[in-house]
Symmetry: C2
Subunit: 382 residues, 2 copies
Amino acid sequence: MRILILGGDGYLGWPTAMNLSASGHNVAVADNYLRRRLYREENVEPLWTVPNLHDRSAAWKNKSGQAIKVYIGDLREWEFVEEIIRKFEPQGIVHYAEQPSAPYSMLNRKAAMLTLSNNLTVTANLIFATREYCPDAHIVKLGTMGEYGTPNIDIEEGWIEVDHKGRRQKFLFPRQAGSLYHTTKIMDTDLLWFYTRIWNLRVTDLMQGPVYGIFTEESGNDCSLLPFFNYDEIFGTVLNRFVVQAVAGYPLTVYGRGGQTRGYLNLIDTLNCVRLSLETPAQKGELRIFNQFTETFSVNQLAERVQQAGRAMSLNVTIQHIDNPRLEAEEHHYNPAHTGLIDLGLEPHYLSEDVLIRMMQFVQKHKEKVSGDKIFKKVTWS
Amino acid sequence: MRILILGGDGYLGWPTAMNLSASGHNVAVADNYLRRRLYREENVEPLWTVPNLHDRSAAWKNKSGQAIKVYIGDLREWEFVEEIIRKFEPQGIVHYAEQPSAPYSMLNRKAAMLTLSNNLTVTANLIFATREYCPDAHIVKLGTMGEYGTPNIDIEEGWIEVDHKGRRQKFLFPRQAGSLYHTTKIMDTDLLWFYTRIWNLRVTDLMQGPVYGIFTEESGNDCSLLPFFNYDEIFGTVLNRFVVQAVAGYPLTVYGRGGQTRGYLNLIDTLNCVRLSLETPAQKGELRIFNQFTETFSVNQLAERVQQAGRAMSLNVTIQHIDNPRLEAEEHHYNPAHTGLIDLGLEPHYLSEDVLIRMMQFVQKHKEKVSGDKIFKKVTWS
């Protein structure tokens, strides 16, 4: 299948590209290096340097014999989107091309406007180009579990039947997010759902929880093929941050009481979810929604897991509860459904002590590069 | 109260400005004449020419002795928004500054992107400027009943309690709109609701049905004070279009079977709803939502009302069912709540034969300017 990955340079983008390429698909990636510009501007560079996309593509060709086509450009610009979609004629499109950080979106007005405008403009351009040049292509868009927030009822997989005054209607599960970033993802869903209905697009929306991990089958621990690894508060996801804090001797920064519960998954499972979705596409006119995570943890539970793995490595890992810079419930109901991807064939890679130890051992090699002032920059929501 | 009206040049904007000014408020209007540019570009000029805002403000000063301050500029530009909010220090802000036409938003890619970018950028700039310079100001934002679509359950006033598997949660009433324009209004609500929670804004969202009418108490039938009156398919609302079609001898263009039911209101009631909302503001941290209409009609019922009023004026009004260019249910459940504004003191001006006859008599004076090729331009949704 010809698969175009928008945002192919990111933490998920590049590993996805290799995984699909290794599975025999014809893969192209598009990116404008926005994420690299932002982490540089905010002085939160990842733990190791990653080559640019052309060099990564060459390294992958060298390792696998497979080519990954690289398009560099800004997907906010219609001419670029139009050009690559006309040229590549994708059958599947993975849409990762969004400003992906909640704290970044809350940093200041300019960061908020960049997030809003980037995420919506790219999604709209994708919709228009798909309709024009490849109306049968299957769009797999990365959503987020954060769109749902933490309601007091069970979270269903994208949709809910509401009984009200003796009548019944199926709706998109009501969304109420905790950051501007997450709110733009709600808007993306609104936009895709509208045009799916009107123009018979075929779309899968993957409501993903926070991802952790470094290695995939394709990368091994080859530095030229590894993804970015951010350990800072802005671009680092919580478990990755804790791993680095543990190794570098910083207390784990648990926000508030630490009862915040989310659904997590290993980077390897993200790739499998995306590939499984592509290989069994949504129908024309269907917005198919999966909740993409494999197990739920509270932040306290994650911190304890990391502490325990640290003990096995003779690291003295401490936990520090700090004032929560975010506005979020620190104790709440959380019972989201997540059977759709299992039904498609997903075999989860659960969080084990081995997984954590392998991450921590690798991070230890880069320990001297950890910079304390990047770990907690106190981006407040209020 | 110092009240700033964003989009003060529009069909609702200018009549609102005069109404608030007549009620003793200190009013300023801001606009970039976007709507005028669009109707010119699409060759759907309104039935009569209206003076620019400076001239209207002078005419109003002449009539009432009251000044209305005029700011001309583009609210998508932060510097302009910042400047006028810092200068005027509004206590109430009426947000009408959106591309308001569903058919326009479905015209082509450029029109869609203008709608998306204009409506979200202006709303976001307003939020940021309010937080920065007038955090206690009350934002009254024009929403639309079209955000709800036509679900198979009763539409509540903004919110719904959902019982699910033995638990309960209050949500924004689920929204699913029928055009890109309406979808951008859903996104606006998402955006305002997020920042209301985070930053304790005070916001009233008026979910308005289609408005009809020409005259208000302030305008009388003084041509220098009347609003735009569009009778075309793109910018004209349905009852206004029918009135013009009836007078000019065109069959009334009923889309499809004509069972589409919506909540309608007289322009005079729009002004009263907005003023009542401003004079009893929402609390800090509250997103207050009212469904703003006074009575529901199917399109067939509207056509029959106009036909009947025509008969009283010895006009032979015919009705033509044409292929529906929109994708919408032509028969559906529709029972939306609308008690909030009545509770605030609204005294509805219902649609009567007298109201229709007065509109038709006035339109008759401009009959020779009606251009047949503007009436139905067939902007299709698919």
